[in-house]
């Protein structure tokens, strides 16, 4: 982030290696690591077009072309699985973008530092809980006798079988994910808020703007760049609906609406030992993600006028 802002602030200058060689040297280890651990292994995607056997290796395994992709698209569930993944992931992205922003704005209005810090820490805590643990806690909280249904009943509403109905299940996935992660996003927005020039508010006050006006015309535009960065970075998750969460909360009644690409790959690739097939599905997922990211990024650039690369 800081680096991004730095490059932006600096005019796109001449190539001046003599002055910057040291910076390049600093960069070298990370570039090397990236090459070794992220780019070189990409060659492994060729096994998506093979009938890969470990003991035969990539060179010895038989080539089968697009057979695995054909198998994937003839699986009658694939459309449902992709649509589940998209619905869950996009909902999480949108809610996970808006909620921390709103929360940070509200929290920023609190003037008592102790309260502010306490709340900030408390909402950040769930981020550290594992879904294995949370799965059990949520099953209890959302059960017929659980606290949530108790609340609904006391409000005169009918109780809901959250984990036993497809729509409610997806809703629960999104809400619980946002609840778990919004504290993290909030911290980033708070940091951005702290950096807003205070003299702008003073000037606005003199002009007679109330808190709402100040928020609308000063706070929001000031932190918009950070918002766009966070939004753009989260685009990478457009087909990541959250394996840990879904795997731990899934049950047979909602299997049809809960199955996502990652759990599907797990079941076929790892449980059945079909590495080539799993790679094919993974490759498909990556290609689709890349396309979606490209498109959304373009849109973000066009409408928000801000780019990070």
């Amino acid at each position: 982030m800081a680096a991004a802002i730095a490059t932006r602030a600096k005019p796109r200058g001449r190539w001046n290696f003599r002055k910057t060689w040291m910076l390049h040297l600093f960069l070298l280890p990370s570039v090397l690591l990236l090459l070794v651990y992220s780019y070189v292994p990409m060659a492994g995607i060729v096994i998506a077009f093979q009938n890969y056997k470990t003991y035969k290796g990539i060179r010895g395994s038989e080539w089968v072309g697009f057979e695995h992709f054909r198998t994937m698209f003839t699986d009658e569930r694939i459309v449902q699985i992709i649509s589940n993944t998209l619905v869950i992931a996009v909902s999480k992205m949108v809610a996970g973008w808006i909620v921390p922003l709103l929360f940070a704005l509200l929290l920023n209005e609190i003037r008592i530092s102790l309260v502010k810090r306490t709340v900030q820490t408390l909402v950040y805590l769930p981020h550290f809980l594992s879904w294995v643990v949370l799965g059990g806690i949520l099953t209890d909280m959302l059960s017929e006798q659980g606290i949530v249904n108790g609340l609904l009943r006391s409000l005169g509403l009918p109780s809901v079988f959250f984990l036993g109905n497809g729509n409610w299940f997806q809703f629960t996935l999104v809400v619980s994910d946002v609840w778990k992660e919004f504290g993290f996003g909030t911290i980033i927005y708070l940091a951005a808020l702290a950096g807003v020039n205070q003299s702008l508010y003073e000037a606005a006050e003199i002009d007679g703007a109330n808190r709402w006006r100040q928020t609308l015309h000063i706070t929001l535009p000031s932190i918009l760049p950070v918002g766009v960065i966070i939004g753009t970075l989260s685009l990478g998750n457009i087909l990541n609906a959250g394996f840990d969460q879904v795997f731990n909360m899934m049950n047979p009644i909602v299997a049809g609406r809960g199955e996502i690409i990652d759990t599907y790959v797990y079941k076929i690739g790892l449980l059945q030992g079909a590495f080539s097939f799993a790679t094919a599905v993974g490759l498909f997922k990556s290609v689709v993600s890349l396309l979606l990211i490209g498109v959304t990024y373009r849109l973000a650039y066009r409408f928000a006028g801000y780019r990070i690369f």
């Binding site: 056997k53 470990t54 003991y55 290796g57 990539i58 198998t71 699986d75 009658e76 569930r77 059990g136 099953t139 209890d140 059960s143 017929e144 079988f161 984990l163 036993g164 049950n251 047979p252 009644i253 299997a255 049809g256 199955e259 599907y264 079941k267 076929i268 790892l270 449980l271 059945q272 030992g273 079909a274 097939f277």
Partner: protein, 561 residues
């Protein structure tokens, strides 16, 4: 989750519960349980049943010069070492080195995360790295890859030549364990043998509830239903039967299952039909009648309305909190978690019983797998004689051999300490399991010990042998009772007979078929689908790949014989 993981959980949990599980056993001591290895290279090897006082009883079997065998191990967090020991130099490995001249070497030392060891093996296969001499394999897919890779050797001749009499006897009594490693008529590995019942389900009942309604423990399905009805009438706010339905095999979790309802035709497994072919249990007519029983109970409020979201521990907690009066599960549940019941509920009395009969009038349950781990050996490994010698010694403590060097435990200072010349299992800083073996049979193989089981003897108050003393120290009465009951219906266990690597159609279709199966099952119980839908599921299962899978499974079955 990997198929059969539930039962595997059973094993690890049981091991955790009873740190030094002595396994099942009976009156020991008859000649066959003596260490009588036949694999020492010394030409003068004879029975060593009466060790002479002056020389070490193992001297005749010692390899000189010492032999080094390399293996691989994935270290867990709880594998702590004490007093400057290392993974290759600790009481266990030292004993083998000093007495048998067998040196343990770990060519690969990994952290037990996910599938670390399996990944390492696959990497080695792909890169051509030389394998360690011995490898423990817990995955049939990988086992099959290894066999096909040509990097491991068949052991038929060496087994005949070097295996000790009691090793041979254990395998003769359990010939089924060879199925998964047999290919082209040869045996490509040495399977461990489980005790065959550790994960087998029994019926746990609140005896105080039974007494309150004045009924005996049910022996048939009708009696069982009468008990459920009586419980519900007596305690209307409770749900008498605790079932876990969250697993991929909803009615066969490792605790809180409902397997007994299906009688002799168990779901989720491939069992032999009348014509000798394998058939899948969940698409047989009996499955439907079993399910309709469970649905009936669900409708009557005998089963929790949210059982499909309950995993095994949640189901067990329904029982331990006093909400349910009956739960099915393994015999070790007496130690954990069921012992909590009496703490949570005043006046609660928990008692294990044998399973009642199911819808077909037969008693049945899904049997514990016979093999969890198979040892494979690198092609070119030259010390199978030493390996089988090692194997024989490590088997001793599982057969309650009084001469076993590991009778009290695997290592002094780890799982036992010596006090006044006698072993004590009250280890000051807590007991630690030493797992640094090369190969061990793992459990007491079924059929190797006859007579009363060690659980019965200890429950009756016997503390004669060191094995009985150890079990008496580490177990609770409820655990012993549970294990005793789990031995009662051994012949009722239906075992999955398909234990090979997934067949081709399974690879692409099995996730779909499994999902259809669990969805059809649970939706039916919840009343979201009808009998007609259940029939349709069975037809769909067949037409969408199930028939093809069945054919391939049967082809495998024919070839494995």
């Amino acid at each position: 989750m990997r198929k059969g993981l539930g039962k595997w959980m059973s094993m690890t949990l049981a091991a955790a519960v009873l740190l030094t599980g002595a396994g099942c056993s009976g009156k020991s001591g008859n000649g066959e349980a003596e260490p009588s290895g036949s694999s020492s290279p010394a030409p003068t090897q004879t029975a060593v049943s009466s060790p002479s006082a002056e020389a070490s009883p193992w001297a005749a079997k010692k390899f000189d010069p010492p032999v080094t065998i390399s293996s691989a191990i994935a270290i867990r967090d709880l594998d702590k070492l004490r007093g400057g020991d290392t993974y290759e130099d600790n009481p266990l490995t030292r004993w083998y080195k000093d007495n048998l001249g067998i040196v343990t070497k770990y060519k690969w030392l990994l952290t037990d995360q996910g599938d670390a060891l399996n990944q390492k093996i696959r990497l080695a296969l792909a890169s051509g790295e030389e394998l360690p001499d011995v490898l423990p394999i817990d995955d049939n897919v990988l086992l099959n890859e290894l066999i096909e890779s040509g990097q491991i050797m068949s052991i038929d001749e060496m087994f005949d030549k070097y295996a000790s009499p009691r090793t041979k006897e254990a395998y003769e009594k359990n010939p089924d364990v060879w199925t998964a490693v047999t290919k082209d008529g040869k045996k490509w590995g040495l399977p461990q043998i489980s005790d065959g019942n550790i994960g087998d389900s029994i019926m746990w009942v609140r005896q105080d509830w039974l007494d309150a309604v004045g009924l005996p423990a049910p022996k048939t399905l009708a009696e069982f239903e009468a008990v459920l009805a009586a419980f519900k009438a007596k305690y209307p706010g409770k749900t008498p039967l605790a079932v876990s339905g969250k697993a991929m095999q909803p009615l066969a979790g490792y605790m809180g299952d409902a397997e007994f309802v299906f009688g002799a035709t168990q779901p989720y497994i491939w069992d032999e039909s009348a014509d000798g072919k394998l058939q899948y249990g969940s698409v047989q007519p009996g499955f439907k009648s079993g399910l309709s029983k469970i649905k009936e109970w669900f409708d009557k409020g005998y089963i929790n309305k949210e059982f499909a979201t309950h995993d095994e521990q949640k189901a067990a907690s329904l029982f331990t909190s006093g909400d349910a009066g009956i739960i099915f599960g393994p015999g070790w549940m007496g130690a954990w978690p069921l012992e909590d019941t009496t703490k949570n509920v005043d006046g609660a009395v928990v008692k294990p019983y044998e399973l009642p009969s199911g819808v077909d009038g037969e008693v049945g349950r899904i049997g514990t797998k016979l093999v969890y781990i198979t040892y494979v050996f690198r092609k070119g490994f030259e010390h199978m004689d030493a390996l089988f010698q090692y194997y024989d010694v490590s088997m001793g403590s599982l057969l309650e051999d009084p001469d076993s060097p590991f009778a009290a435990g695997a290592g002094e200072g780890y799982d036992y300490v010596m006090k006044d010349g006698k072993p004590s299992w009250d280890v000051p800083d807590g007991a630690i399991e030493l797992r640094y073996t090369i190969a061990t049979v793992g459990n007491t193989p079924p059929g190797m010990l006859t007579g009363e089981t060690i659980f019965e003897r200890v429950a009756a108050g016997k503390k004669d042998t060191i094995y009985e003393q150890k079990l008496a120290f580490s177990s609770s009465p409820l655990y012993l009772e549970g294990r005793i009951v789990s031995f009662k219906q051994l012949d009722k266990a239906r075992r999955n007979k398909f234990i090979g690597a997934p067949v081709p159609t399974m690879v692409s279709k099995w996730p779909l078929l499994t999902q259809m199966e669990s969805e059809a099952t649970v939706s039916y119980i919840y009343g979201k689908t009808t009998d007609a839908d259940l029939d349709k599921y069975m037809q769909d299962w067949m037409s969408k790949g199930g028939q093809k899978v069945t054919d391939e499974v049967n082809a495998w079955y024919a070839s494995s014989k």
